[in-house]
């Protein structure tokens, strides 16, 4: 049960990462590797501020802001300096590694007794249930786990709803169109370059916010924590699309949350079942590869008999 709740909570926190990856990869078809650096950036900024006793809400907001800056940097490299999109992301990600070390002052920053959203959720849950633990379906669940889980759920839902609403505004629809058909939206008076910068800022802001929350959950920030996170987010998106389809943006956003949680659950179960943690990234990459290749393979298999039928 502890394993499940933990996996659920991390999955929910990382659904913000999935939202960010959705904006860059799906809306703009922009393979933005900045994410690996910006999730750590968010963790570093939130961690340092929390150590300095800044309120967790403020620290998380600062993480968002820092990520947005990193995303804009990638966007400006790509649009103003005409650097290939992938390379822009790699440049910013590489630079962020040093920046993150500077922000943290060391490679690992533990959060000991600082007030974080975890401790706040813990005390709120204690007040609510009146004890330090409770029974859920016959399992003992601590108030900390229960509180953090509920908080993460609310956070993922609120951000998801806000994102959905954003893409229903004039600015949001223009951003979608900029990714869908740049020529068309330029002819309707929108500066596509600005939209890309803004989109990457929003994307990396969400990703950094995810990092800021993750640090508060796991109790430390680490300069290595971002490695492979883009692929992680992409896997979540792909699972989500397989689960609920892509008919409507609302489905995609809900799918991203579900995909993120499910992916984390699978990983947790696999690790428990004896998977060597060192193989985790290899298997994640393999999974995304298969998910990317599978649809076209299936189509080829489906098309072959159709041609026979025609002749």
């Amino acid at each position: 049960m502890l394993l499940l709740i933990g996996a659920f909570t991390i999955g929910l926190i990382l659904s913000l990462l999935a939202f960010g990856v959705f904006i860059s990869f799906r809306i703009f078809a922009f393979p933005d590797i900045t994410a690996d650096g910006s999730i750590t950036l968010g963790g570093a900024v939130a961690g340092v501020l929390l150590v300095a006793n800044v309120h967790p809400v403020l620290a998380t907001a600062a993480a968002f802001g820092a990520g947005a800056l990193a995303g804009s940097a990638t966007g400006v490299l790509h649009t103003r300096f005409k650097i290939n999109g992938l390379l822009s992301g790699i440049l910013v990600m590489t630079a962020l590694y040093s920046i993150n070390l500077h922000i943290m002052g060391k490679s690992n920053l533990p959060l000991m007794s600082q007030r974080t959203f975890t401790s706040m959720a813990d005390s709120a849950a204690q007040r609510w249930i009146g004890a330090v633990s409770m029974q859920v379906l016959g399992w003992e669940v601590s108030s900390r786990d229960a509180g953090v889980f509920v908080f993460s759920l609310v956070a993922a839902l609120v951000v998801g709803v806000l994102l959905y609403l954003f893409f229903r505004t004039n600015l949001g629809t223009a951003m979608q169109a900029a990714g869908d058909n740049a020529q068309m939206i330029r002819a309707l008076g929108v500066n596509v370059d600005n939209m890309i910068v803004l989109g990457l800022a929003l994307s990396n802001g969400l990703i950094a916010m995810s990092g800021g929350l993750l640090v508060q959950y796991q109790g430390f920030a680490d300069v290595q924590m971002g490695i492979g996170m883009v692929v992680w987010g992409l896997a979540s998106i792909i699972i989500g699309e397989a689960l609920v389809g892509v008919r409507d943006l609302g489905f995609v956003i809900i799918g991203a949350v579900m995909g993120s949680v499910l992916f984390r659950l699978i990983v947790a179960l696999a690790l428990r079942g004896g998977l060597n943690p060192n193989d985790l990234k290899l298997i994640t990459a393999g999974f995304v590869f298969i998910a990317l290749v599978l649809p076209s393979l299936l189509r080829r298999f489906k098309r072959a008999p159709a041609i026979e039928a025609e002749t």
Binding site: N170, L171, T173, D180, N181, M184, G189, N191, V192
Partner: protein
């Protein structure tokens, strides 16, 4: 009013692929005039349209529209004055977005886009009314993604979108060339209707001599990056597709001479 003055444009200047696409184009179009542009391949007619739309900046010359000098305006800024329909029916609409969302985008052409709600109930009513007038039964499919429509339907919607907010200038760039004959007829009819109803100042490039003869109140013929014929008023109305073909034949004959000789002959006889 559109004023194109002495516009030059050379692509890939100084390389073996150098193309002198526009070589001193002068063209003034009065408000409410519907001008057809024809020309051989590589004559610069689409380049001229692109120069006006802002797809690139011209090397020399000025472009003024509605009293403003737009020569140095980027494409997205010119969009506040210009409505466009492209040759490729897939260029003018966002395929993964719904018809209604595409119309919403067009309804704010050239206007600031903030965090206001994009699609309101009252707008949907107006969308339905105006889409119904296309007679394509699309008004019941406002929430379908545009990517699921045919090229003709998408081109008709692009036309509707380009003219949603009355533009100072409507640019039609061979907008029926990629359509099947029936859809092309439909879109041409629609273009005529919309231009006439809103009295839009229009610049239309076409390959079809029939369209060139039947549509518009003025016809401009381009060759080698400049305007070589300009028919207006009664002269334009008398033009038939055959006359135009003959003109092309003349041009082709002149082509067989070298350029300076052709210029001389043109000065003497045309």
């Amino acid at each position: 009013m559109l004023e194109v003055n002495g516009v030059f444009k050379t692509f890939n200047a100084g390389t073996p692929n150098e193309v002198r696409a526009l070589r001193g184009v002068d063209l003034t179009i009065d408000d409410g005039s519907f001008v057809i542009v024809i020309g051989t391949n590589g004559s610069g007619k689409s380049t001229l349209l692109n120069a006006v739309a802002g797809g690139f900046f011209v090397d020399r010359g000025t472009i003024r529209l509605g009293g403003a000098d737009i020569t140095s305006w980027p494409e997205h800024r010119r969009a506040s004055l210009i409505g466009r329909v492209f040759q490729n029916p897939f260029s003018g609409t966002a395929p993964s977005m719904s018809i209604a969302e595409n119309l919403v985008l067009a309804a704010r052409r050239g206007r600031p886009r903030g965090l206001g709600w994009a699609l309101s109930r009252s707008m949907r009513g107006e969308f339905r009314d105006r889409v119904r007038r296309l007679n394509m039964r699309l008004e019941e499919r406002l929430d379908n993604p545009i990517g699921s429509l045919s090229g003709g339907q998408r081109q008709a919607l692009t036309l509707l979108m380009a003219s949603w907010l009355k533009p100072k200038l409507l640019l039609l760039d061979e907008h029926t060339a990629a359509l099947d004959p029936k859809s092309a007829d439909q879109v041409i009819q629609l273009s005529d209707d919309i231009v006439a109803r809103d009295r839009l100042t229009t610049l239309m490039v076409t390959h079809s001599m029939q369209q060139a003869a039947q549509m518009g109140d003025r016809l401009v013929m381009m060759h080698r990056g400049s305007v070589i014929h300009d028919f207006r008023g009664a002269e334009k109305q008398r033009l038939r597709a055959n006359d135009l073909l003959n003109r092309f034949e003349e041009v082709r004959r002149a082509e067989q001479l070298d350029e300076s000789a052709a210029d001389m002959l043109r000065r003497l006889y045309v």
